[in-house]
């Protein structure tokens, strides 16, 4: 996924749902199979932002989306759609295909 494009996607996510979205994406990360497939840089960013209580900020949501998509794209897209973020899901799907 391109960083620039993903930042634009993240900016579209309303602040009001970020807390629950961050928790839901975290649960996908914590419960997905193949946790060892998560790139080390993403794992470290995820832990750093969690420690600093910044997972709900732009950078945090960005990392969560990348990480959750890397481990379980299907569940991530489903969660986004259930959270009323179909537009975001479509964009992530498109960006993922583009690589």
């Amino acid at each position: 996924m391109s960083n620039v494009d993903l930042s634009e996607v993240v900016a579209k996510i309303p602040k009001s749902i970020r807390s629950s979205l961050a928790t839901q994406l975290t649960d996908i990360l914590l419960n997905a199979k193949g946790g060892d497939k998560l790139p080390s840089s993403l794992a470290k960013s995820f832990l750093y932002l969690w420690q600093k209580d910044r997972l709900e900020e732009d950078e945090g949501i960005d990392v969560l989306l990348k990480a959750a998509t890397a481990l379980d794209a299907e569940a991530t897209l489903k969660q986004l759609r259930e959270s009323g973020l179909s537009e975001v899901a479509d964009l992530i799907q498109k960006l993922s295909k583009r690589g």
Partner: protein
């Protein structure tokens, strides 16, 4: 004020264990304990990362053992961890799980002597005294001293279950990790720790007495029970007959569980676990039920309650329940 600890088994990728440790620190837990088992991720790598991503919580091995890991190596590892976060590291050590050690081809002899000597060796190295011509009955060391200083005391906790080991913990431990989950067993264990302390002229008040439980919490009691079942199955399978009889556990049922586990037939093993077994060897339930059981345990003189594996079917949510509903009840 009672302390709360949490135990993690590093069987999953490191970042998940570290995530839960950060969560525990944020929620007011006092200690994180990481198990040491050669089939899992390294306890010291895991503890190093936890120290890097936390600021306050104390961390330690829960527990390492002197038969598989030389006490000299343990002293060096613990001292190195302490350099990362001075004052936040403790050392938990026990005689080890017999089944596991047998699998590894390790001969377990004189566990009480081994533990006494191991604690003596680790203390000598951590205090900078070193060892010269140490002649124990299990360990012998010609000469050993750390090449770096440890600038603060590092408490040593002894993992214990049997009567003699519990007394030894009272005699020489800075803390004891009582491997039990039900109030009656823990009460009995605390009395033995007190006996050991008293015989050595020590005050029990100087010892951190931790109940190291197999714990499972969920808003739905049935789900809490189900999450506890696999852990209980392994405990029942590994328990000596005397322990099973003491708790009125059906020996035939226990045998069935053990045979199924040996064959790898987990569904059969797990389906044979009864409520009676789970009540004996774990602490499970809704938050209200857990609070009630923990209250009984604390009355026995426990100073730290350790939420041990499995914690719950969803670890993050289970830790969250402990943070939001259990810990505030006791503070």
């Amino acid at each position: 004020m009672v302390k709360f600890g949490v135990e993690f088994v590093p069987k999953d990728v490191y970042w998940r264990t570290v995530y839960y440790a950060i969560q525990a620190e944020k929620g007011g837990f006092d200690n994180v304990w990481i198990t040491d088992h050669f089939i899992n991720r390294s306890v010291y790598v895991t503890l190093t990362l936890i120290l890097n991503y936390t600021d306050r919580i104390k961390v330690g091995t829960g527990v390492t053992n002197p038969f598989l890991i030389s006490p000299l190596a343990t002293a060096s590892n613990i001292a190195s961890l302490n350099e990362i976060a001075p004052g936040r590291v403790v050392c938990g050590i026990g005689a080890g799980d017999l089944t596991t050690l047998e699998q590894a081809g390790v001969q377990v002899t004189k566990p009480l002597s081994a533990m006494r000597e191991a604690v003596q060796m680790i203390n000598a190295l951590l205090k900078g005294e070193g060892l010269q011509n140490f002649e124990g009955t299990v360990f012998k060391v010609k000469s050993a001293k750390l090449a770096f200083k440890v600038r603060n005391p590092i408490p040593i906790y002894i993992g214990a279950q049997g009567a003699k080991m519990l007394k030894l913990a009272g005699e020489i431990g800075d803390g004891v990790l009582i491997n039990a989950s039900n109030p009656a067993d823990i009460k009995e264990a605390v009395e033995l720790v007190k006996e050991g302390a008293s015989a050595a002229g020590r005050s029990i008040d100087k010892i951190d007495v931790a109940a190291y439980t197999a714990f499972s919490i969920h808003e739905n009691e049935e789900k809490a029970f189900k999450a506890a079942v696999p852990v209980v199955a392994f405990i029942v399978a590994g328990a000596p007959e005397a322990v099973l009889e003491k708790h009125h556990i059906n020996l035939e049922a226990a045998k069935k569980i053990k045979e199924a586990l040996v064959k790898g037939d987990f569904p059969t093993a797990f389906s044979a676990v009864t409520r009676e077994m789970a009540d004996t060897f774990s602490l499970y339930g809704t938050p209200a039920q857990c609070i009630e059981k923990i209250s009984q345990i604390l009355k026995a003189g426990v100073t730290q309650f350790v939420v041990g594996s499995p914690i719950g079917s969803n670890v993050r949510k289970a830790i969250d329940l402990v943070i939001k509903e259990v810990i505030p009840h006791f503070r």
